[in-house]
Symmetry: C2
Subunit: 408 residues, 2 copies
């Protein structure tokens, strides 16, 4: 008998290196800062390693918020209909105060309880959007916090991603993949990330400089034109706070993204990957846009959940993000559906319904035009088969991304 | 082979009955109320059952706060000395807002990670008092929230309480004991609690009516006189909010208690049970009082932790509570040290350093005199061998509690 293979995240030394990368480079915690960690039940080991690393890096205080999806399930199952969108004020005040004190923030992604909300009324599921709170968007836009979102592997997630192998093998494989996409298997992960971020920042600058009037996505089941604003700017990988602290909002990050014109999106788009939303899984998604609005949301499974999100407020059915992902990233190459937006969106070009990031436009007039909403839902529309074209104000089309390679 | 005995709290039906008793009777949640649950990692099953029960009882929202003692350990181990008493504002604002919205509250007691803070610098341990926040005292005094504190059994706690048997037997035994002391093994637990509460409320009224000037505790190693205020009132078991909602602040509850005169406590007292404080265990505690102040705190083990608490603020070394427990309760009869204040204090008469409850005095002048502090630490000083005497203003002594039986 050969010994059971050991998963990377069962090794405390690896978890500590991961935590140090996330705290010291991704969030780039500065001595004296408060550090908030958005975690959930099932992610205790990584959360504790992050807290230890944060305190070793000089955190003034580490505020951990453990979300429990079982409690959310109880609410959706039993609570009165008219209470489902109640959010206690202290949840939003916490994020506002984190902004005011210029804190560091870490969010752990990856479903820890996949399928737990299955079978519930999707309209009710869509009305409770916790742990997300609407105060987060403005705090992100104000660039007061240095933050990062990173994947946290769990065994239930591994079984979801790799259902055809035994649970231990699935766990070993998912851990390996996360180590790989986080570039923890390089000699110097921080240097590797600096280099990749440089590449993405440069591509973003080149696409921005073309000042396209729109992007057009063309592929199987997809022909969608997304209008851009006069000063729509593509950003990538590395952000800087108002205090000059550089951080990686997503780790891993392989995308360049901008804020589109919320009044101009026309055509049909077919999602190229499943979307995990509020604990539900939406498969075979197809969305039709007219004059900026998502006028039809269909899916093989789970369409109602996204419809409910898109009806959340008046502008929840308009676009807040358009993002392009090249073929050089480490995620797309794995050809794995992770059922996690952070990883999946960095495998493929995508768009998002809802809130836009103000730093993606340069002009105050455009800033007033970008979409404001209480939701932000990314869904993946890119693949090697989906060409991305830049459309000039004269209607001329220029290839931007073909077969996953930059054309500009 | 006989089948492994099954622990009561491994039975979902029992956990649901426990949750319904706690939510529907202990906290007495009213439809439309927000319900806050103070839980910790390791207590997920009971927490989720409480949330389900709360939503079934009509809760508007259930706000669960999972504390993680491992994060606290990381802080005490690594954080800079001058940051250890920092408390982020949102933790206090949450409890203030729970008060303002007249919410229901449940706290789960019982150590889930006993010994986890062992070996750390006790002065540093004493400076971080989370998850306790100072805003809780005033909210309790304002009687705006209907709340209850209840024990939540965990396997590590069971092993601590019953170290001489195997872990499964320890777990089965602790669960049985908690079922017993919560009177869940009676035909009608609510009726049983109504009857016991009636008995305690009546004893409290009789002792109050004697208007003693002081209580004197006399037993092995103990001769302590605790002054009372002119309108010190003994309370018991059942509280009522400003809205007229009756609740059991402690479930189980076997005590009658009052707010003493913080300026008058003299003598020496020996704790009759170990005290678990901030994750540390204090054994063989002996405290000497002079003119209301704890002037000497000694112990066989862990004295520094209590010394650090008592130095927390100017009045943390004065008494905020004196409580009497008769021999008819179910806890004392088990002759078990639970290492949990809620259970242990209800097994024996006790006193507390720190904050006093304003509802324990009738006169505004006395309310201005009771102790105000950021701490409230109960420690057990009663046993069948400790007599309790009431001292009149003329110095005459009247037996109050002898061999655990009421004498008034």
């Amino acid at each position: 008998m050969s010994p059971e293979p050991r998963a990377a995240f069962d090794d405390p030394e690896l978890v500590e290196r991961f935590a140090d990368l996330v705290v010291g480079f991704g969030a780039n915690l500065q001595p004296g800062q408060v550090m908030a960690i958005g975690s959930e039940i099932g992610k205790e080991d990584v959360t504790r390693a992050l807290a230890r690393s944060a305190y070793r890096h000089g955190a003034r205080y580490v505020d951990v918020s453990y979300f429990d999806l079982h409690i959310k399930r109880a609410r959706i199952e039993y609570a009165a209909e008219d209470t489902l969108d109640f959010v206690p004020p202290w949840l939003g005040e916490r994020i506002v105060e984190l902004g005011n004190m210029h804190a560091a923030r870490i969010g752990l992604t990856g479903p820890a309880h996949p399928g737990l909300l299955a079978g519930l009324d999707p309209n009710r599921v869509g009305r409770d959007q916790l742990p997300a709170v609407r105060e987060t968007g403005p705090v992100v836009n104000a660039r007061t916090t240095n933050w990062t979102a990173v994947p946290c592997p769990t065994r239930p997630w591994a079984a979801l991603v790799h259902p055809d192998v035994d649970p231990q093998e699935a766990w070993v494989t998912l851990c390996e993949q996360i180590v790989h996409v986080c570039r923890l298997d390089t000699d110097d992960p921080i240097a590797a990330w600096r280099e990749r971020a440089d590449t993405l920042v440069s591509a973003a600058a080149r696409v921005t400089d073309r000042r396209f009037d729109a992007l057009r996505f063309v592929g199987p089941g997809t022909d969608l034109t997304v209008g851009l604003l006069p000063t729509s700017k593509f950003l990538a990988a590395r952000f800087e706070t108002v205090d000059g602290i550089q951080h990686l909002p997503n780790l891993p990050s392989e995308e360049i993204f901008t804020a589109p014109d919320p009044a101009r999106a026309d055509g049909v788009v077919r999602a190229t990957k499943p979307l995990v939303l509020g604990g539900s899984i939406i498969r075979g998604l197809e969305v039709e846009f007219r004059e900026g609005r998502a006028v039809r949301i269909d899916a093989e499974e789970g369409a109602e959940v996204l419809r409910s999100y898109a009806a959340r407020d008046e502008t929840a059915d308009r676009l807040g993000e358009a993002a392009l992902v090249d073929g050089d990233g480490r995620i797309g190459a794995l050809d794995t559906v992770f059922f996690d937006t952070l990883l999946d969106e960095n495998a493929a070009s995508h768009i998002a319904l809802g809130h836009a990031y103000a730093m993606c436009v340069e002009d105050p007039a455009d800033e007033a035009r970008i979409n404001q909403s209480s939701i932000h839902v990314d869904f993946m529309i890119g693949s090697p088969e989906v060409r991305v074209l830049g459309v000039g104000t004269d209607g001329a089309e220029t290839p931007v991304l073909t077969d996953g390679a930059w054309q500009v």
